[in-house]
Symmetry: C2
Subunit: 303 residues, 2 copies
Amino acid sequence: MPPDLTAVRNYLLSLQDSICSGLEQIDGQGRFQEDAWTRPEGGGGRSRVMSEGAVFEKAGVGFSHVSGSTLPPSATASRPELAGKPFHALGVSLVIHPRNPYVPTSHMNVRFFLAGNPEPAGPSTPVWWFGGGFDLTPYYGFEEDAVHWHRTAQAATGEHYPHFKKWCDDYFYLKHRSEPRGIGGVFFDDFNAPGFPASFDLMRSVGDAFLPAYLPIVGRRKGLAHGQRERDFQLYRRGRYVEFNLVWDRGTHFGLQSGGRTESILMSLPPLVAWRYDWKPEPGSPEARLHDVFLKPREWVQG
Amino acid sequence: MPPDLTAVRNYLLSLQDSICSGLEQIDGQGRFQEDAWTRPEGGGGRSRVMSEGAVFEKAGVGFSHVSGSTLPPSATASRPELAGKPFHALGVSLVIHPRNPYVPTSHMNVRFFLAGNPEPAGPSTPVWWFGGGFDLTPYYGFEEDAVHWHRTAQAATGEHYPHFKKWCDDYFYLKHRSEPRGIGGVFFDDFNAPGFPASFDLMRSVGDAFLPAYLPIVGRRKGLAHGQRERDFQLYRRGRYVEFNLVWDRGTHFGLQSGGRTESILMSLPPLVAWRYDWKPEPGSPEARLHDVFLKPREWVQG
């Protein structure tokens, strides 16, 4: 069965809709503003941002469908046979920065890539794959939340969970800090082995699992009382998020390099961030507990 | 004349001292705290940071002398003949984030690199070069300040000024924003053509010119009244600084990749930073003037 670009596109558009709607509902006050944009070389997207909501200080949920007649070299370094071919890259990507430091930051992305001739009767076989995943970045950890997050990820990815969970731990890692970005989740890429329908099913399963994974955690933590100390720690830890996205994240680099829309790519950055030179939490404090207990690759659910 | 490693090291240590002392004097309140550190693979440094001064919200002035028996591959991509040789990399690097949005952020770096056998009678000729420069990043521009900055840079670099000025404009450029980081200054690298004594003189001249270039500007602007609007713009523009340093700056990348001391490398990051999605200043406003008038490569002095 040939890849169905239209079906993937329609799913991604509806996923963006349902996620924005779910986030607006739990926020109760904030609304997403949409920017539709086009790319001179082909394609475009719709970026949606909620700013200064009651629960979400900033949330960005972007859909993009970038296409072109010629793949840029940066995209084909590991697959030189694709150089110069027409391509489509579609995805939904989101990052949510909550206001309350007890609510974790979360990220989700699902994507589809297609290069070559998409027609079954065309002169060459198309090359395609899916990718995606979601990961969670708490400021103050709760075991109950981590277990729920990973159980939902496990249910969404089934037999692939152990592999995708490790992939996530490996990918969202700050090498210059020797530190994971958060408690992980699942991550996959280059996925096409079971054929198009089953691969598309897997991506849908991950996309559909995001709200059930995240909203219960938001619900439990959004009302917890906190003060300046917790806010300061949140702003400080957000610095790690910026460092990861700008230094290590391949999607960000590819986007900035390939002439993607800068404001859409960088809408993942937190609204307010602090860097403090050589700061360390007091041993035994709740802030130290994040690093000591949660920022370790760990099996949160039984395989 | 062979390169004199000890003389360069001594100069750099004294430059760090004099710059810290000059900054403390104009601040009047803040004091630098020093961290001495060593690197398991060889060398070390002394990082000095002023936090929450009266004038400087954060200032980092670092000296480092990294050495090793084997050059890492990342350092020799363009010079494969150096791979595996012993090396020394020395420098003073600083970034200053003032509190008052009318005082520009500034950066200066001078450095020396030496690979191979430093002994004149040794079996192979050593390879060495100097690099450095300084650049200015205003939030609200003043022509008088820009002219003073570039006149001082011109006096320090003489005949090299036009070339080094352009090099600075080219280097401190955010490609993903199509925007310069600031009003530039001078930048040079791989400098050894006139021989060691004259090359060392040039680096000294640049290092010694930093305080005379920057302090008069600080003096003129540090007392200007400002409010939340100017503070918000400063926090927003600091985001560009983070983007440049983490996405484009080769020194930062090399440092993070080569196992440099992360806190020393990232002490250039601003203490507090804001990102606002797709924000644009009102046309004709003082904030728009920064972009329209100052963030253009421009000849600030006559050659």
